[in-house]
Assembly symmetry: C2
Homo-oligomer: 240 residues x 2
């Protein structure tokens, strides 16, 4: 195979076409002059690349990144950054790991959920991009709930989470505990499908040292779902 | 005045006798073999010094410190340290900035409240030492509520706190923002006496990026109050 042959034609990576369609759909919500929250992860990155193209064509937007990785990519792609002090942001575009029929979410497999929630909370609308396999009937279906904790609290959090039936594993990379962009630890809690996500959220937040959880209840305003060649639109009824 | 004259005789600093009396009273709760949570601040330091004397006389205890400053002092005084993984601790001895008639507290003027809550939560009993001026009729009387936040969230927290009527000031030292032992920012919120501290706590904890607040509701098991030459004992009715 010649060196200049990429082997895999552009667009054929599984899901890449889906992500491009989602990104294009989200772009339609962006207006000239907007400040846009930039999520983290694959879907958010696809949106950022599409946004950068439009910026190259003259669209005037600035982005508030939800992770150091997203900030670095935005810089590289030439999307100007703005601060969280310039809120309210028009919208935040982000991905999710689970979406239930009420548009409640589990996020955090990528570890950026604390800043993702902060930026979304400073935005008029949280726009979520997912491929169809992220739609689940009940939150917890994929068996994993990330939470971020103050490192000092690890032994207490471990005991409390085990007592709640959500045994945690400290997220590791290259054999060492991962630190979030905020300097904290990420725990991946083993969970079953949740009968009452709001009750679990209250219990988790009541544990001293828990900074935040991956449960995003009532935050998503609109969800775009790539399903085959189509993009489905799920919209929350009523304002949050 | 000769160089070796300290000027102020030992024990005459205002409140030092009070603190020594409180420390002695708290010591009576400590048993040989206990693991003890070590608070931060003046009253907790008086207790640590008294505990260290007893350790020098043969008492076998170990301490779990709630701040880097307390850890350093414990080491210097020869009190062995233990980890939070050795819970449950028998008791935690700490101070407070306000104590109301229900034994609800405001803490955090010293900036260690996040670890103080974590260690207290791992303890069978939270023992609070205060001088009488910390007894107030209603939480908020002294006008200040510390909270700890993820630094990234500052602009959002500022707006939300102002909207709640608790305008925050970023705590500074030597002209720079103070970082807590957890690497976070400390905000001192201006408050009025609180009609419903539990409601405010819920509202504060619902702000994305808030790690914890100085409101300690329902945590204190017993409060020793230095009042003139006497030490009053206030005990919570029922178990928490």
């Amino acid at each position: 195979m010649p060196a200049d042959d990429p082997g895999v034609p552009a667009g054929s990576t599984p899901g890449e076409g889906d992500l491009a369609r989602l990104a294009a759909r989200a772009l339609e919500l962006v207006r000239d002059g907007d400040i846009v929250g930039l999520g983290s992860g694959r879907a958010a990155t696809a949106f950022l690349r599409a946004l950068a193209e439009r910026v190259g064509e003259g669209l005037r937007v600035r982005g508030v990144p939800t992770s150091e990785a997203t900030a670095a990519l935005a810089c590289r792609l030439g999307v100007p950054l703005a601060g969280l002090d310039e809120a309210p942001l028009a919208l935040t575009v982000d991905g999710a790991d689970e979406v239930d029929p009420r548009l409640d979410l589990i996020k955090g497999y990528g570890g950026a959920m604390v800043r993702e929630r902060i930026v979304a909370a400073a935005s008029r609308r949280q726009v979520i991009l997912v491929t169809v396999e992220k739609l689940i009937p009940v939150l917890g279906t994929r068996g994993r709930l990330p939470i971020e904790i103050v490192p000092f609290a690890l032994p207490l959090c471990r005991r409390r989470l085990e007592a709640l039936g959500c045994p945690p594993a400290v997220r590791q990379a290259a054999g060492r505990p991962v630190r979030s962009d905020n300097g904290n630890l990420l725990l991946d809690c083993a969970i079953r499908p949740l009968a009452d996500p709001a009750a679990l959220e209250r219990e988790l937040r009541a544990i001293p040292g828990v900074v935040d959880t991956g449960l995003f209840l009532g935050t998503a305003g609109i969800v775009f779902v790539a399903d085959g060649r189509a993009v489905r639109i799920l919209e929350r009824q009523g304002r949050r």
